[in-house]
């Protein structure tokens, strides 16, 4: 007994250690305190976030990954961003842009074998052409664009983002930004008319360019009287100085950082960073704290480690059906609980950072569906102790987190909510209920998949397992009906509150209604004796199709109030998923003598008796 406990504690400790391991790696490339630099708060897209988030999301959009592998090693997102902001000559040589479309390559006059990776420097002679092509392509309706048109628009957007990043702190190619600022402070006599301040026309123009082009807002508000959200871009802040004579200390701090980095002077860089961090800590302690939490969250990537662990759990739990059911089943369950805790920590951290209920966009719905399904799976495993709850939960946990990972490719997953969605009350009730409805419908569907796969392909589905699976599916379908029905009606009430109509037959509303109807059909068909154990399973698998349609399919129609844009890349995956589910339904309908498990058609139950059974 004691030994078992010890082993369990060791497993738990090792799992947690695995989860926090990324924090233990200290990134100090060339002696620069990049990790600390990444915690500096800036404003972008209406949200104050650490520079690290800006770096990761930008690199993700431009390069498709959160790190960049050079020939000699791996650059972290922050290492890369530092170069883009402060040492552009180096950054322009990094081959970070990916082009896979041969037509795009041809349009640029490059051979198809010219390699997939290109640096910004290589694009410079072609910028005008690319802009022209992209402008032409943008005139075509988004859904009618050819692959080349989509690719060239994407390329243009990436190049624009890169260009804006480069001109966020200093004008690209500036050698000594600190010196420039010092000169400016010495020679300028602030005047309401900028031209009268003694600045040259050329210098004024470059400040205006910086104010216009810069991507993020690096300079905090003037403490403590300024509007707390009135952050400024570097250029804007310098223009304020020209007219008002107020120079924000952060301008000097950033200038020192930029010049020290340019001159490869780590000691000066670190001490300037140290001083700036102290100033921020004094003026904006809460923002600094949140930025720190977010950058730790970025580094730990709890959803990534949970994803990996779910695979391990699935393997353990599925193996328990063949060998050592007790031991393997137990460890799978322990791991599942620990992984669920990691998943939950990630979820709660996101909620804290956003100040929102768990589901605010498609990305977070994926994270939450996985979470909900795993929670239900844990309950099932507690009751039935046969590995099925663990295995199914782990499978859904893995798949949904994988989907979330792919959805995060578009950039920041914590966007601000548009006005109509900006009500935590409804987000917390309607959206959470509907999403739990999705989660439980998927869980029922995946339990049914387990039944069909184990029954048809392995001899491991015995009578007891089959009947416990049937009870699980029935219970989860009841649960799914409750949540999807209540969630859908709450959505109607929200719509009534904000648009004045309860139901508008909008595609997303219809999608939710389909889930409710399908779950209701399953329950009534079972109560009416129209289906028995196997029919229930086949119907539950169809629930996967209905739910995937509601979750993703309707967004691909590109119409309606809930439409999140056309997701062309996800479409083949949806089709493949639907096809696979239909295939499993066919297998589920095969006569029993094709099944590997010894199954016999159960005794016919008269309809009346079935009805009474459920009462």
């Amino acid at each position: 007994m004691n030994r078992t406990r010890l082993i369990i504690s060791l497993v738990v400790a090792a799992t947690l250690l695995y989860a926090v391991a990324p924090l233990l790696q200290h990134d100090r490339r060339g002696g620069f305190e990049m990790q600390k630099f990444g915690r500096t708060p800036v404003l972008l897209n209406g949200r104050i976030k650490p520079l690290d988030t800006v770096a990761r999301n930008s690199l993700l959009i431009i390069h498709g990954k959160q790190t960049f592998a050079t020939g000699q090693g791996t650059l972290s997102a922050m290492d890369w961003l530092a170069e883009v902001l402060m040492k552009q000559s180096e950054a322009d040589r990094r081959k970070i842009f990916v082009i896979r479309n041969p037509e795009t390559l041809a349009a640029l006059g490059w051979k198809p074998d010219a390699g997939k990776y290109f640096s910004f420097g290589e694009f410079v002679p072609h910028l005008q052409e690319i802009e022209q092509q992209a402008t032409l392509a943008q005139k075509v309706d988004a859904q009618l664009r050819s692959p080349f048109q989509r690719d060239i628009i994407k390329l243009f957007e990436r190049l624009t983002l890169y260009h804006r990043l480069e001109n966020s702190i200093e004008v690209t190619g500036t050698q000594n930004f600190k010196g420039q600022i010092d000169e400016l402070v010495k020679n300028i006599h602030p005047s309401p008319v900028p031209m009268n301040s003694g600045i040259t026309a050329e210098a004024l123009q470059s400040l205006a360019f910086l104010a216009e082009t810069g991507y993020f807002y690096a300079i905090p508000p003037f403490a403590p009287n300024d509007d707390p959200l009135r952050w400024r871009k570097m250029g804007e802040s310098l223009l304020v100085f020209l007219t008002d004579g107020k120079l924000h200390p952060a301008v000097k701090a950033w200038a020192s950082l930029a010049t020290a980095f340019q001159q490869n002077d780590a000691a000066t860089f670190n001490s300037a960073l140290d001083q700036y961090s102290r100033e921020l800590q004094r003026d904006l302690p809460r923002r600094v704290w949140k930025a720190k939490v977010e950058s730790i969250f970025n580094q730990v990537q709890p959803f990534y480690s949970a994803m990996v662990l779910y695979v391990l759990i699935f393997i353990l739990a599925a193996a328990s059906w063949l060998v050592w059911p007790q031991t393997l089943g137990k460890y799978a369950f322990v791991l599942l609980v620990v992984t669920f805790a990691i998943h939950s920590t990630g979820l709660i951290t996101r909620m804290y950072l956003e100040g929102r209920p768990p589901v605010t966009n498609l990305y977070s719905s994926a994270v939450f569906i996985g979470w909900g399904a795993v929670l239900l799976g844990i309950f099932l495993e507690r009751f039935f102790r046969n590995g099925i709850g663990s295995a199914t939960a782990a499978m859904i946990g893995f798949i949904t987190l994988l989907i979330a990972h792919h959805l995060s490719m578009d950039g920041d997953t914590m966007e601000m909510m548009r006005a109509v969605l900006d009500t935590n009350g409804w987000l917390a009730t309607h959206v959470v209920c509907v999403t739990l409805g999705y989660a439980s419908t998927f869980l029922a569907g995946f339990l049914a998949l387990t039944y069909i796969v184990r029954g048809a392909f392995t001899p491991s589905l015995d009578r007891a397992t089959a009947s416990s699976l049937s009870r699980m599916v029935y219970g989860i379908v009841c649960f799914a009906t409750l949540f999807s029905f209540v969630g859908t009606i709450l959505g109607g009430i929200w719509a009534d509150q904000s648009w004045g109509r309860f139901w508008g037959w909008d595609p997303k509303e219809n999608g939710a209604l389909l889930i409710v109807l399908w779950n209701a059909i399953i329950l009534h068909a079972r109560w009416g004796g129209l289906v028995r154990q196997r029919g229930l399973m086949v119907m539950a698998v169809f629930g996967n199709i209905v739910t995937s349609w509601s979750w993703f399919g309707v967004n691909m129609l590109g119409i309606g109030l809930h439409s999140y844009g056309f997701m062309d890349s996800a479409f083949p995956w949806l089709i493949a998923f639907v096809a696979s589910q239909l295939a499993f339904m066919m297998i589920g309908l095969l006569p029993f003598h094709f099944w590997r498990s010894q199954m016999e058609a159960p005794r016919r139950v008269p309809a009346r008796e079935m009805v009474d059974l459920t009462a």
């Binding site: 548009r418 009870r471 009906t481 009606i489 109607g492 904000s498 037959w505 059909i521 309606g560």
Partner: protein, 391 residues
């Protein structure tokens, strides 16, 4: 004796049993899924408004091959399915269900579904959605139907008010001649175009001569277009109207909701004017837009909130107060609900959605009943299950 019983069972019991059967429930729900799914797909081509009318607020859905003049019903529409489900549910409770504690959850839940179905039917039949576009400082005592026009004949003789005869779109579309006892002439609808394109005659020199002999219509070419299906587009309707007095025709006018100018004319020394506009619904009270605010997130164009500060004046009820209408926080007054719906004109115009729905409360009650019923039923199951496991 035996013959009577079997006849009774055949004509009364067995139809009732079919009506009350779970099979019928499953079939209706499955057809409902098909309807909802097809109704979603159809929105891509037909737009939400046409689909609503054709699929969901209809008894049958028809199909006809392109170009054919006949059509066959292929699927039951929303009204028919809803009604059959309602009857099915009522029949099931009349025959199969006994009132018992064990069935409490299901009974509550079904009662909620019944209320929901009836509520949606009533909403479909009686609710009215209109819009109010107010500029800052403007006072408005009416709202307009965004997708329906009317022809207004205005008699401005009285300095205190205008006397208006309004012809709704449904009547215009029917065509024919309209006579109203307050007008000394008849209105003949020569052509009505639900959607049209208007071009200055100078830009289309080859166009056939205009039927219009009076007003601005002489200089404009109107061409009929199919109705728009896009959510963000509006139809521009137009019509050629001929007025006929005792002495014969007074002329033909072109009217369109694209042109707000009133076209004056004189009959028997009395001046009237003619205009086509969005159909108006007058209220017993008026709203004045004091100001409109539109907040954005810092450093972005993402709207954070919009709200209208309005003054509500109602002489009948002696109301005169300031109200704030914002997203998710509407004004409810005298059976109408005013929602913040949009803005225009550089944030100087506020667009309010005005809804009158006598069945508004039903989904709220239904939701409560369904949730309660499901909760009671499933927790009875769950507790039973847990108890059985722990034994």
């Amino acid at each position: 004796m035996a013959a009577i019983t079997s006849a009774e069972s055949f004509f009364i019991r067995s139809p009732l049993r079919v009506l009350a059967s779970l099979r019928l429930t499953v079939v209706c729900l499955a057809l409902g899924m098909l309807l909802v799914f097809l109704g979603t797909l159809a929105q891509v081509h037909w737009g939400i408004h046409q689909v609503q009318a054709r699929y969901f607020q209809s008894v049958l859905i028809y199909w006809s091959p392109p170009g054919a003049s006949w059509r066959i019903p292929v699927l039951p529409g929303g009204y028919l399915l809803g009604t059959v489900l309602l009857i099915n549910l009522l029949a099931a409770h009349a025959t199969r269900f006994q009132l018992s504690k064990k069935k409490l959850g299901i009974i509550l839940l079904h009662l909620g579904v019944i209320l929901l179905l009836i509520g949606q039917l009533l909403t479909g039949l009686f609710a009215r959605e209109t819009q109010m576009r107010i500029d800052e400082g403007q006072t408005m005592g009416y709202s307009e139907a965004p997708r329906e026009v009317e022809l207004a004949v205005i008699d401005p003789t009285n300095p205190d008010y205008d006397q208006v005869v309004a012809v709704p779109e449904a009547v215009l579309a029917r065509g024919g001649t309209i006579q109203n006892p307050t007008l000394p002439f008849t209105i003949k609808i020569r052509q009505f175009m639900a959607n049209s394109q208007l071009v200055m005659r100078t830009q289309a020199p080859d166009a056939p001569p205009s039927p219009a002999t009076q007003g601005f219509g002489k200089n404009i070419v109107a061409t009929e277009l199919p109705r728009t299906v896009k959510e963000d587009e509006r139809d521009l309707s137009a019509a050629f109207i001929e007025l006929e007095g005792v002495q014969g025709s007074l002329g033909t006018w072109l009217v369109s909701n694209a042109i707000a100018d009133r076209q004056p004319f004189t009959v028997e020394g009395h001046t009237y004017s003619l205009v086509m506009r969005q159909r108006r619904f007058y209220k017993q009270f008026a709203l004045t837009l004091l100001n409109f605010t539109h907040d954005r997130y810092a450093g972005t164009d993402i709207p954070k909130n919009f709200s209208s500060r309005v003054r509500l004046v109602d002489f009948e009820r002696n109301e005169n107060r300031e109200v704030r209408i914002s997203m998710n926080d509407p004004l409810r007054y005298r059976g109408y609900t005013f929602y913040q719906s949009g803005f225009d004109n550089n944030d100087k115009t506020s667009i309010l959605q005005v809804v009158k729905n006598p069945a508004m409360l039903m989904p709220y009650i239904a939701c409560g009943l369904v949730a309660l019923g499901l909760l009671v039923q499933f927790s009875m199951h769950l507790f039973g299950f847990v108890k059985k496991r722990s034994r």
